[in-house]
């Protein structure tokens, strides 16, 4: 695809970033992103909440503030009750309002399969854009939400989890990355991406774009959803985890005593996951404490950035 060069484009297609960023003036840039998908959970309201949080997340991952959103709806009008769509949209709108974002419209088409999400516009000062790249040796890696949504959702399909677990994973997926993004701008970080379909390791690979960098991750420090480890051991692992492992596995090295579930969880595709942040060692503890005090209570330091020979992630 040939895209004509544009001097105002701060972030475009080339570098696997979370959203597009376009400079409007010396002090203002807009962030543009879109995301929608098929139902993740049974409850329509929760689905709306999760889809909205997921779409907004890409703006937060750049360090920006979402301001407007538009609904994207695909709906089987002839075979599904309209009340279901109303609940999905209500969930989405409540989440949009929670984020302080204004819904300005939307578009819907008839489709055999229900899908929902948002197109989102955000704003940011051009100097404050936080890219995937930018991590430096010596940085610490912070993950703001626990892993395991893909595995737990598979376990839910198998009928193997209780109501409490379903509520917990739904709450995690519906949680906005807003607080985490605000604190990250306040403290100052070097790089950030949000963790979604490629799993923690897939998205971590996107942050290592120079040959000189490597990540070291301590599997014991990674926050994980309750029952996810047990479910992974039971083989309730979504196909996406294996695809992620196949696609990015070449860049990852596991220490010899790492349990198998660790790899499964680290490659598990996440829905509306947290932010993976590279922050200088001096600021890491302060940022972590602020996040935990602000309700981002699963935020954890999971590893560090080192010098590398060839891009690599080492799991110990």
């Amino acid at each position: 695809m040939e895209i004509p060069a544009d001097p105002n484009l701060i972030v475009g297609l080339e570098t696997f970033e979370d959203a597009g960023v376009y400079q409007l003036s010396d002090v203002l840039a807009i962030i543009q992103t879109v995301d929608f998908f098929t139902p993740i959970v049974d409850d329509p309201y929760s689905f709306g909440q999760i889809a909205a949080a997921n779409a907004l997340s890409d703006v937060y991952a750049m360090g920006g503030r979402p301001v407007t959103a538009m609904n994207i709806v695909c709906f089987p009008g002839k075979t599904m009750e309209i009340s279901i769509l109303k609940e999905v949209l209500r969930g989405g709108l409540d989440k949009i309002n929670e984020a302080g974002v204004t819904l300005v419209g939307g578009h819907s088409v008839n489709d055999p399969e229900l899908k929902y999400g948002l197109s989102v516009t955000g704003i940011i000062h051009p100097d404050n854009v936080i890219l995937n790249s930018g991590a430096r040796p010596g940085d610490r890696l912070i993950l703001t939400k626990p892993l395991g949504t893909g595995i737990i959702n598979t376990a839910i399909k198998a009928g193997k989890v209780d109501e409490q677990t379903i509520d917990d994973v739904t709450a995690q997926m519906a949680m906005l990355n807003k607080k985490a993004a605000e604190l990250m701008q306040e403290v100052g970080v070097n790089a950030c991406t949000d963790v979604t379909g490629f799993g923690l390791l897939g998205h971590a690979c996107e942050m290592i774009q120079s040959d000189d960098l490597a990540f070291e991750i301590d599997h014991a420090k990674v926050p994980i959803l309750r029952h996810a480890i047990k479910s992974a051991q039971m083989g309730l692992i979504p196909g996406g985890a294996y695809r992620n492992r196949e696609f990015h596995g070449g860049m990852v090295e596991f220490a010899s005593d790492i349990p198998q579930w660790a790899g499964d969880v680290l490659f598990d595709p996440q829905t509306s996951g947290g932010l993976l942040i590279a922050v200088s060692a001096e600021k890491a503890e302060a940022l972590l404490e602020k996040m935990r005090n602000a309700g981002v209570d699963k935020a954890s330091i999971i590893g560090s950035v080192t010098h590398g020979v060839g891009t690599k992630i080492v799991i110990k």
């Binding site: 598979t154 198998a158 193997k160 014991a220 990674v222 480890i229 047990k230 051991q233 083989g235 954890s300």
Partner: protein, 192 residues
Amino acid sequence: MTLTIDARGLACPQPVVLTNNAFDESDEVITIVDDEIARENVSRLAQSKGFDVEVEESDGAYYLHLKRKDTATGEVGNSYSSSVVLFISSDAIGCGSEDLGQKLMIAFVQVLHEIIPQPETIIFMNSGVKLVAEGSKVIEDLQVLENQGVELLACGTCLRYYELNEKVAAGQVSNMYDIVSSLFNAGKVISP
């Protein structure tokens, strides 16, 4: 008697669910799947349930020969739904030397995160609550377990007795009702 499960064409996680059900009825199961993901998932299930796994590929399908390892002591029954609860009612293991007992408890907690399956919940009562308070030698190990989804419940009455209620560094403060419920709902309760 060997049970055969033909899971070809079935969507995830059906192959795992059907194989797991078969384990309740037989020590030898052959599961047939037609994709690598199902092959991997069923293998993991079998290994976690104490079955040996041999995979044979034939005509575009994978035949997984699953045999329970030790039929004399192997558990029959779905151990996934029976959660393991660890009940720690002292900061030391055993009677005799208190010093030795405390060292044993520290070593016990430190080994926990390598154990499969993980306990679902760890309950701390009486002097056991000292393990979750500031100054405990196993705080970091308990925080790792908590991070990995293990629920840590520390008896509130006990924390107040030892004047540690403001010094909880891992887990959450709990009450007798939740603790007793957890014990009664457990599949297995282990008391070191």
